[in-house]
Symmetry: C2
Subunit: 353 residues, 2 copies
């Protein structure tokens, strides 16, 4: 696929496969909401551009992308995807040509790119140069990228964790959840995760070192399940799913508990979100429930790397990725997030260098 890429020669025009977002989606997204098409691209920046032209290596499938498939009106954290244009999202890429003083051909970056083989990036905010390549490059879509910083900031900055506290994580085998659990274990917390298959539950217990884990699909009564795993109650809930799960967790929170709201994947495909009924317990139990967004923590990214890279190298943190090969596999990989098909961080590999 990467054949014929010379890296900036003036004349060279190459194929550029793309994943095109057809139109706004309602309900569960389907593969057919996207088209894989082919165009061409000149491997040279347009005259006078101060952006960068990159070859995309790994694309990240993230739950929040469902939100961008809706029509979003007015100012918002996210903008809608543009119908008939390539999806955009986080990825790892290599600079092919640069008009920007801070980047040169050959640099590796992670940040916002598009779902295509080559992308012209002109919005440089939130791009990071990759400095450490003794770890898999794909990690910069996960443990060393947006999901990793999300887990780190969400747990350490929002949850105010203390040694010995009881921590519950939903969607615990996902890109963020598996890390929150490991951060919590490193801190000396008691950690239980929920996930949607036996394979994921096994991972949580045997690979990520959670104290307990359960398959929420096998629990008719989530409140009862939580009471079983947390007879003393929950100090910290790392919220990834929302809806009925949140209601059941609130019933089981301890006094002065904290809920870090990272996302609510169970709600993204609903026309009307489920109502959460137990909020009065926030008063009785003095619960702090706080939403957060990783972008607010980009300033601690280098501190985060200083903490996490040694853990990776020493094997104290592990990371499970689910890598789909080829841009053509992108739509299925993305759609699979919402039925929990992925085991670990869902990545799409487009090229390996």
């Amino acid at each position: 696929m990467a054949s014929g890429v010379g890296g900036g020669s003036d004349e060279e025009t190459v194929r550029n496969k793309q994943v095109i977002f057809r139109d706004y989606v309602s309900g569960f997204p389907k593969e057919s909401d996207m088209d894989v098409t082919t165009t061409t691209v000149k491997l040279k920046l347009p005259e006078g551009s101060n952006g960068i032209l990159v070859k995309n290596l790994y694309l990240s499938c993230d739950p929040y992308m469902r939100i961008r498939m809706k029509r979003i009106e007015g100012p918002n954290l996210f903008s809608s995807f543009t119908p008939a244009s390539p999806l955009s999202g986080f990825g790892v890429a290599k600079v092919v040509d640069s008009g920007h003083p801070e980047y040169k051909a050959g640099d590796l970056i992670w940040g916002t790119t598009r779902w295509e083989e080559y992308s012209l990036i002109t919005e440089m905010d939130g791009l990071f140069k990759i400095q450490h390549i003794d770890v898999p490059l794909s990690y910069y879509t996960g443990i060393l990228g947006m999901p990793g910083l999300t887990a780190f900031a969400g747990f350490h900055e929002v949850c105010s964790p203390k040694k010995g506290e009881y921590v519950f994580i939903s969607a615990a085998a996902g890109a963020v959840g598996q890390l929150v659990g490991q951060f919590a274990k490193l801190m000396g917390c008691y950690v239980v995760g929920s996930a949607g298959s036996k394979e994921k539950v096994d991972l949580l217990k045997n690979k990520f070192g959670f104290d307990e884990a359960f398959n929420y699909k096998e629990e008719n009564d989530l409140n009862a399940a939580l009471k079983r795993y947390f007879p003393e109650g929950i100090d910290i809930y790392f919220e990834n799913v929302g809806g009925k799960t949140l209601d059941a967790v609130i019933l089981n929170m301890r006094a002065h508990g904290r809920i870090a709201v990272c996302g609510m994947i169970s709600q993204y495909n609903l026309e009307q979100p489920e109502g959460v009924q137990n909020l009065m317990l926030l008063v009785y139990k003095r619960i702090r429930m706080e939403g957060f967004v990783v972008f607010d923590y980009y300033n601690i990214y280098s501190k985060f790397l200083d903490v996490v890279l040694p853990y990776i190298r020493e094997g104290k943190i592990v990371y499970v990725e689910d890598i789909a090969e080829g841009l053509e596999s992108g739509p299925a990989a993305l759609v699979g997030l919402y039925s929990g098909r992925n085991v670990g961080k869902q990545v799409v590999a487009i090229a390996h260098d």
Copy 2:
């Protein structure tokens, strides 16, 4: 009514009117859920008691009392009222006889007492001796008692207010709301309150100095009303009502907004609380929503008095009370809270000294 009270003579037995809680309530409480009965009491402590015998002067009608009319199972912030026994609640009382070294006959106190003319108090936690009597004694059921400290701690400790911020208060003419608004104005915030009648709205604007106020019963679309009063959005919401109001407020919160959850009076009479649907916005807007309970702030009560007493004396804070005369008027006064019949802090006066 206070005739014949001699204050501790050995033999004296006097009438003791009581408001008896009949049985657990569902739906809106009614006057007939309580009985006013008469018994007698000896104006002397039982032999060996280290409690205090008090003459109740003012009783406080507080929204949370509805919660105690339900059957509450297991450990909880509140216990149920005991069927066929007097209601209990906050009040102001005078010590008639004391077996406790810290109290003597004639002392004035506020704290938890019962709905009757005379009470034997053996649980001394959360009783406060009243030191300042240049202000109305009834204020110790309101601005200088539990609701006052609730407003002060909830606003200053939970809301993290900053000068110039946009503050919305529901149930704003109530015992707590009227104070939160005045604290916020003293801090230089822009303050809007909602209440349920023209009279209350006038009070908010003309007596308490709110910048704006509206009658929520006249607004078909609360979201639209909030957009009208907060074109820039809401930084701080002091939550007293819950349900649909909370959902509409969340839509109008600004980034990094704070919601102090004090109570949810609109939900207390429902069998099933309304579901709140907009919680995903906590993420996008990085909202912190935090429940709190006044008991956690009893340690700052004297600091609170140091701040608030001068404000009262200088007329910088005013307080509106709705005083019902006589224990017989208690059931109607209490029930009236849930239809918003009271204008200002609802008090029941039993005796004036």
